[in-house]
Amino acid sequence: MSKQGGKGGAAAGKAKKPAKAGTDEKREDVLQAVILADSFQDRFKPFTLETPRCLLPLVNVPVIEYTLEFLASNGVQEVFIYCGTHSENIENYIHESSRWNPGSVISPFSSLEFIRVSDANSIGDFLRDLDKRSIIGGDFILVHGDVVSNIQLDAALAKHRARREANRDACMTVVLRSVGEQPHRAAKARGITPVFVVDPTTGRCLQYEETHPLQSGRYLNLDPAVFSHGQFEVRTDLVDCGIDICTPDVLALWSESFDYELPRKNFLHGVLKDWELNGKMLYAEVLDDGYAARATNLQMYDCISRDVLERWTLPFVPDSNLIHGQTYRRIKGGSYVEDHVVAERGTKVTQSAVGRGTTIKTGSTVWGSTIGRRCKIGKNVKIENSYIWDDAVIEDGASVVHSILGGSVVIGADCHIPEGTLISYHAHIASGVQLPSKPPARISVLSDNKQLADTDVSLVGKGGKGASYTVIADDEDSDDEDGADRDPAVLQSSLLYSLEGLNLSTSSISTLASDDEYDSDDDISLAGSLHAGDFGHARDRLSSFASDDAAKPDGFHNDAVHGLVDALRADDSDDFDGAKLEFMGLRLANNASDGAMRRAIAVAFVRRAAELLAPEHGALEPTKAAAEALTAKKGAAKFVKEVGVGGEGVPQQAEFALALQRALGAVKGLEPARAGALLAALLQQLYSLDVLEEEGILAWWADKRAAENEDMDALREKCRVLVEWLENADEEESSEEEDDDDED
């Protein structure tokens, strides 16, 4: 609070532009808005490799146009745009647009500024930066660059002001659209279900949680403080349209909490939870009419496109021609067609939008789709529910069902593009190719690092261009909104909403203890994060894990492994206690079983050791790598002993050795011989550190599970020397070796 006071004063005192300095009152009158044009997500990949999300065409209009027009229709005067990736694209777009260019006389905004933050990694960084700049004078509207809405905010703004005047602590109003309790396509498409606990009389928001279909727990815990409010509603029927009316206090709150990244999951949840501390009150404005939604993922993109074509978003419909130079007219069959569209006799175009210069040859049918400008569509083509961007070419006889074809894509004759396919810019599918339907293909000419990918002839056919684009599920540098929540992102990254491919995980929701749980989890997290592409293989190996591991809460494994690996990697500190504390905290928070912990620790150390074998980390010998991994950080060995093994007993030690073996088996890119050597080195190192005892290792050796298949056996064989040596072990030799290692 005190901090805010200072900020507010500063904002008025040293207003950035002297011309606008004026009085406080004057600034209050000017409605300001902040657009967050980067969401730090990769749900629109591979399209967003080339174009930022807010410039992707939604019914042939870049998404940000909807957002800007929405702000203009609400009388916003000053706009600040925060851009992250592709910022130059967005800036160029705005500067070239005759309507939004800040220098243009016809711009509805008195000012429009871009703010670049070089080191921003999250929305939180943007807002903390905004707080430092002191350019916000009074209430402002915070929106994302992908909002499509026709609501008028006057009523909400007036209510917000009234509340703020009554109580200075009422600092934010979240605008939500109710979608009813029955299944709704907009609700389904969003992936994560926001749960708002709201006081129905005042609209005050009491608690915020998120759920999604793939989480293991089906319950939410209500904060006991909620019950002291007497009356409240728990609502899951709301679509969060990402429109917030904020006072500058909100920015101060962001600054105070340096680790908040996401406006909802972190900020809203956190501020409401710590209400006792910060005393701030947040309100929800639930709208029952009007349209508001965010194109947050491909399914929402699909949903909003359909809503636009069905005119729910009026006046933001094609035949309003809000963009300069558009000439859409509504024709029979509920379609919108621009001038200079040639549709030959015998074509059927229904419930679609077709851009200028497109030709559709005879016998083709287009249904429920949007087609960009200058596309060429051959004879007898069938297009259903698809989004085809500018300059695409579809040759005779092809069929496209519920897919997105990026700009300048070429589809050869008689191709079949099945549901859910995503084909990014400039890809070329040769004639006669049938793309796979399960899983639907994602084809891009660029790979994830924006280099040209090698053409995959088996996928796109001879003469085609493009390769399958795989979303690399890599947590370390994932900028996904749900870093910890991997699963909903899986749901959201495809065009089709389907739980089909994820059956294993859904079954784990219903059956508490089963092997499947472990399987599915490791498919995604372990194998995925270790770049193990061969899922089937990994599953084979892992399926026999003890079922006591099964009741392990979602996400624990990932978080724990990454926490530990990061701590092991850290160059600047030798201390492992922090990581240990974090790990234990995570364990308590997730109520993880001993088995889960053991596995997580084994994976973490193995990963670190395997990493050290790699050339870029010095290409250490397996023995050195094992020693480095286990002893470089003070307390690491002790941690493994106390937590990882979790007891003096021989069975526990054997389990840990087994866990190490399995983790090594899952490491991709390591030849089995090296892996075996590393396993032997790790075991030896652990033995010499007194973490594992002779009996433990021998018990592992005798365990049938350690040799259940060829790969496991190969690893195990490498340890034969060690085991034989152990069997005739001499204490002094080992201690000597330990000294050697310590010197390293």
Partner: protein, 426 residues
């Protein structure tokens, strides 16, 4: 222009207020987007168009009539294209174009007179030393008043001589070589500008007073004891009924869409209150029950959004059913339509198919299964064929279909009818 704290949503009034501190281009563009976003619609469109064209005449640069015409045409066609569903915009533009042409020809005629008059004057005035005078002459000689004199706005009371002054420079031989041509030009431009602006003011007045003028005919149309069916009464119809209520005792049946959801007050509550206060009974009717009441009704009244040259109407959706029902029972249908809503063109295909609105008036977006399964076409306008209409009650008095052509001919010039096509702009 940020208005008061309470409302940020831009409106026509705010736009009109902001004319002075905005460039012309910015004002036009703001209005275009207000139209595109449907933040200005219906009857407001006519007013908005007149206001903006007044700005075009006042602020844009033009040196002769043709330039002015093309300025107005281009601004007008941009507006008309922005809202193809509002034919009224085109009407106002045509009216203004016609006005400019009238003023210009008046000037030209005046010119011819002026040249004669001027030569008379010159011959009468013994100009002993013509070369000494020229600098002062424009200021003193009544034949050619300086621009400042004209801009005082005294044209209304001008004598014949003053009128002569607004000569078209191109063919003005008036005062011979002594008067520089460059001075003549601004003078006439100035005069034309203020005359056209006055003319636009008159059009604005006409638009504003049309409702009252129509209401003035109410006692002729409504007789004591009548049962009048008002279908979705617009402001025009409301005024008409209230005016009638002050003189007649009759019964009004208000038909409207069924308002299913719990609206805070029943539809047209204000109108009913006013009518009841004047001693007129009202009956509220959902539009699907309308047929049952038709036999009791003496006449059906509604207002039009536009009247086409064939007599067909553009109306709010639903009115067509009322008109058809009345037609079946041979009840007169009276349409209230001010003259500015008469379009000198035929309805296009798009118009006769009706404008599509937001489906949410029939299906709530919150109704998930319905949103998924249904495609809701909510037509918000209807086209009514001319044969269903009996009386067109304009602000100039009641008309029949057969006399519409003369009204159109009186108000529009044939060369302006296709004004938006004359510019080859995309």
């Amino acid at each position: 222009m940020a208005p008061s704290q309470a409302a940020h949503v831009p409106t026509l009034d705010n736009l009109i207020k902001s004319f002075n501190n905005q460039t012309l281009e910015a004002s036009i563009e703001s209005l275009i987007f207000l139209l595109k976003r449907r933040q200005v619609k219906g009857d407001e469109c006519a007013k908005a168009t007149a206001h903006i064209l007044r700005q075009v005449v006042a602020k844009s640069k033009w040196n002769d009539v043709d330039q002015l015409l093309s300025r107005v045409q281009s601004a007008g066609s941009r507006l008309a294209r922005a809202a193809p569903i509002e034919p009224v915009i085109g009407n106002v533009v045509r009216r203004v174009l016609g006005l400019i042409r009238d003023e210009a020809t008046e000037d030209r005629n005046a010119d011819d007179l002026a040249s004669e008059a001027a030569s008379d004057i010159q011959s009468l005035t013994p100009s002993t030393n013509p070369n000494a005078h020229p600098p002062q002459r424009p200021a003193h000689v009544p034949v050619r008043p300086s621009p400042s004199v004209i801009s005082t706005g005294l044209q209304v009371s001008k004598s014949m001589f003053n009128l002569l002054s607004v000569a078209n420079p191109g063919d003005s031989p008036i005062t011979g070589a002594s008067t520089p041509m460059s001075q003549a030009q601004p003078a006439s431009v100035h005069a034309l500008r203020s005359e056209v602006m006055d003319g636009i003011e008159e059009i604005l007045d006409e638009i504003n007073q049309a409702d009252d003028q129509i209401a003035g005919f109410s006692d002729i149309q409504i007789h004591p004891g009548d049962y009048v069916l008002a279908y979705q009464p617009s402001r025009t119809v409301e005024r008409f009924l209230i005016k009638a209520a002050s003189k007649r005792r009759f019964t009004v049946i208000i038909a409207s869409h069924a308002f299913s959801d719990g609206a805070s007050e029943p539809p047209y509550a204000m109108l009913r209150k006013k009518l009841n206060a004047a001693g007129v009974n009202t009956i509220n009717l959902a539009s699907n029950g309308l047929m049952a009441y038709i036999p009791r009704v003496n006449k059906v009244i509604f207002s039009a959004k536009a009247v086409y040259q064939n007599g067909g109407l553009l109306v709010d959706s639903g009115s067509c059913i009322a008109a058809q029902a009345a037609h079946e029972y041979l009840k007169p249908v009276i349409v209230l339509c001010p003259v500015y809503k008469f379009c000198p063109e035929d309805p296009s295909d798009e118009v006769s198919r009706g404008e599509l609105g937001n489906p949410s008036s029939y299906v709530s977006y919150a109704n998930g299964p319905a949103v998924d399964a249904l495609e809701v076409e909510n037509t918000v306008t209807d086209y009514i064929p001319p044969e269903l209409i009996d009386v067109y009650l304009t602000n100039l008095g009641p008309q029949t279909r057969h006399h519409l052509a003369s009204i159109l001919a009186d108000h529009y010039k044939t060369e302006d009818i296709g004004f938006s096509l004359q510019l080859g702009e995309p």
